[in-house]
Structure formats: structure tokens, C-alpha cells
């Protein structure tokens, strides 16, 4: 039973944030559906999307949405992998890989958002 630092931090934080991001996503998805489908009929047109994203508050919202979704997804993937014997044997690699993917998704998505 090794005592690496990641295992100490990642497991409890992973669990707590999985719950928090789960709740956030529920609210975010509803808000996203509201502004894209319920406000007007042409809300999905390119020009409208660009116009919306020029608002820094909306930008920040989508970035938080992205961060929550990526964390929830990659931390979920981490948990699924660790649920197997293969994952258990490669715990370090699983933790590093999934969290790196999370960071990449957030940074890359963040850069795309900035360009708007």
C-alpha cells in the first residue's frame, strides 16, 4: 500500500468535486438549453452565437460549463478505470493521464472561447 501524494489528494477531492460538478452541470445544461432553444428561433445562427459570446459573462459561463463537464467526464473515466484490476495496477498512470486530459480540454476550450 503505497503512500503517494496524488492518491491522498485526488481521491477525496475527486469524490467531492464529482458531486459538485454533477449538480452544477444540471443547472448549466438547463441554462444552456434555455438560451439556445427557448429565447428565440434563430439563437443557433452563427452570427447570434458570436454575438452572445462577445458578452464576457456568457464567455465565463461557458468556460465554467466546460471545466465542470471536463472534470466530471475525465474524473468519471478515472474512476471507471480504477474500478478494474488493470487500472488498480496502473494507478499513477491512470491518475496522470485522465487529469492531463482534463487540463488539456479546459485550456484548449478556453483558448477557443477567447478567440470569439
Amino acid at each position: 500500500m503505497s503512500e503517494s501524494h496524488t492518491r491522498k489528494v485526488l481521491e477525496p477531492f475527486g469524490w467531492v468535486f464529482q458531486m459538485i460538478t454533477g449538480l452544477l452541470l444540471f443547472a448549466f445544461v438547463i441554462f444552456h438549453l434555455y438560451i439556445t432553444h427557448l429565447t428565440s428561433h434563430d439563437a443557433l445562427e452563427y452570427a447570434k452565437v458570436v454575438q452572445r459570446l462577445s458578452n464576457p459573462a456568457i464567455k465565463a459561463f461557458y468556460w465554467l460549463f466546460l471545466a465542470s463537464a471536463s472534470f466530471h467526464a475525465f474524473n468519471g473515466l478515472r474512476a471507471i478505470l480504477l474500478d478494474t484490476d488493470f487500472g488498480g495496477r496502473n494507478e499513477r498512470a491512470v491518475n496522470t493521464l485522465t487529469m492531463a486530459l482534463f487540463v488539456v480540454a479546459v485550456v484548449y476550450g478556453g483558448l477557443l472561447l477567447i478567440t470569439f
Binding site: 500500500m1 469524490w15 467531492v16 480504477l82 478494474t84 484490476d85 488498480g88
Partner: protein, 238 residues
Amino acid sequence: MEREVLFRIRRFDGDKSYWQDFRFTAKRGMTVLDGLYYIKENLDGSLAFRASCRMGVCGSCAVKINGKPRLACETQILDIGSTLEIEPLDNMPVLKDLIVDMDDFFRKHEAVKPYLMREDDDYENPKELLQTPKELHAYYDFTLCIKCGACYSACPASATRSDYLGPAAITAAYRFCADSRDEGKEERLSLVSGSEGVWRCHFNAECSEVCPKSIEPAKAVQKMRLMSAIHMIKSIFR
């Protein structure tokens, strides 16, 4: 009341696994364990199963009856119906017929240090440790575990990860962590909070469903998980 019943037993002879059917007349009051003894004494002496107390105390006789892990000695044949499919417990290697190898299960139990740990242990001069009824009830239910392995057999997390501690061991850890006399909480928490510990639970609660002592291992695992999370997050800031 009497009824002709069919016992379909999953047997294993060391090489191959096969189903074998036994028919006999079950009387009212006969438990599944009585049925197994009847078969062993009258129909097939080679049938292997484990039992001792025949009164729900020792935890030896747990088997799967129609898919659900239960104590053979506490299950009435006539309550189940006229066809009973009996199999060994899951998530443990089968040794012969209904007997499984529980070494791993007990090793995990042992690994969480399921005993009172105190600084002032002194067997020469034993000292009385007082506890209020409230302090007793905080953990009492969880002392009732008979280590039958039913929960471990039903647990989906134990099925996919072989080193997962499992519901019974984590329940035992919680039983001592919630005991006001114990001083080993820190040590025990670090033992159950690895990736093979509390985090693997899906809260499927199948363990609570099958526990013959109704002690709700799923609840203990959740409590232990919360305790571990708080403890670990606190320890970062210390």
C-alpha cells in the same frame, strides 16, 4: 405441510463445474441447510458445503439461493418455492461445490485493524472504559457482522477490482472508528482511503440488501468515505 422440491446445485470438482438436480420431500420447518444435509446423508455423500452453528451465528453457510446470497440455515425451503438453485458465493474462488476460499476476504478484514487501539493498553492492569448508551449506539449495529461474506459476494465493486477491501472490511473499520474508546482512527482511515478502499464503492447498496444481520454495510461505507474525505482534506492544511 410437505412438498416435493427440486434442489439444483452448482457443483465443482476441482476441474469442471456442472449443475446437479436432487429431488426430495421437504417438510415444514426445514431450512436449506437441512436440505443440504438431507442430500449429503441420503442422496449423494460427496456434496460439499460449509456450516457449523446452524443458527445464523457463525456465518459459515452463506450460499447463493436463487441468485441471492443468504444463510442456508436461516432460509426456509418452503418460503422459497419448489425449485431452489443453489450456488457458491461470488467474488471468491470456488474450492469444491459450495465451498469458497475466503482467505482474501479475511485478509482484507485483518488489514483494516478491526480491534480497539489505545495508547494505554496494559493487560497487567486492565482498566475499565466507560461509555454512554449514546456512544454505544453510534457503532453497536455494526458489531453484529458474522463475516459470512454475503455482502462481498453481492458487491459489484468487489467483482471488478479484486483488491477492493469490500463492504464487510470497511464496515469493520467504521465500527472501530465510531467507537468512543478507540484511538486508532487516523491509522485506520489511512488504511481504507487508498484507491482500493472506500472510493471504489458505487453505493449500489446491494450489500445492505443481502446482509442477513441487516447491519447496512452500505451505510457504513458511506460514513467511512465521508470520514476519510474530511480527514484527508483536513490533513492537507495541517
